[in-house]
Symmetry: C2
Subunit: 129 residues, 2 copies
DNA sequence: TCATTATATTCCTTGACAAGTATATACTCG
DNA sequence: CGAGTATATACTTGTCAAGGAATATAATGA
């Protein structure tokens, strides 16, 4: 359980994080809102705390948990290496759809401001099993 | 193995994705570059393919694998709900560091009451929105 | 002090999954 | 055709994490 990716692989932990994004919450509040048992909530919160996703402060007998930003930034950094790739694909899709909108011979107005070069047709190929 | 988050929880799969971001590659190339056994590579590629992270085309006896954008966009969408939160924190940290840079007085002494401290060295890079 | 509330922890069982080994499938070329 | 190459799959095993039940710890208030 070392990486941030393993931490968020667990659905209940993602639910807890999504809950905490709007407000801090106590264990009992999380327990009721997400309909999980109390030990389950506490155990997931421990994992999240040790991974730096949340921190807690004491309020009488309660403990209030709230998000910490660092692991999210780390995920975003990892994702960034793919961002250029996928946005290129989105652009290609946009150009394709733009062209579909136009009658095939004449294309009077350019909606997308990108370049309209089309060097390579997509390899559209089926999968089998 | 349902969600995209479980897929990328596995370090070898993340390595494969990171390798494919620059170029498509055959199973054998992945095997050599990442020093994994061939069945391990094939099995991870199967998982990645079924989850929509990669697609393959046949080139003689080889199969060339390349990335597909959709799951990355899905991750980005999930991450987006936290982005407002963490950028607010980055802004707060920046303001704090800006204030530290000022040689001015008006330094309140003991300010924080209860907080889990988090030592963070400042990496200097000025950026404003 | 005791009772109550809130949370953390321990023990146990179960299931998922990753890797290794062996084998199967598929394509190419002589 | 057979040999060689490239990839996929089957089967087994070890590890590890998630959840349930019970219990421990801690703070509050009477």
């Amino acid at each position: 359980m070392e990486s941030v990716f393993e931490i968020i692989a667990e659905p209940n932990r993602r639910a807890i994080l999504a809950l905490l994004v709007s407000n801090q919450a106590s264990v009992g509040e999380i327990e009721r809102q997400l309909r999980m048992t109390q030990p389950t909530v506490s155990k997931h919160l421990r994992v999240l705390r040790e991974a730096g996703f949340v921190e807690s402060t004491v309020d009488a007998q309660r403990r209030l948990y709230r998000l910490k930003p660092e692991p999210f930034q780390e995920m975003d950094t990892w994702l960034a290496q793919f961002r250029r790739f996928w946005s290129a694909h989105v652009d290609a899709l946009e150009r394709y759809l733009d062209r579909m909108d136009q009658p095939q011979s004449t294309r009077p107005k350019g909606k997308s401001s990108k370049k309209t070069s089309q060097p390579k047709p997509r390899t559209n190929q089926g999968e089998k099993k």
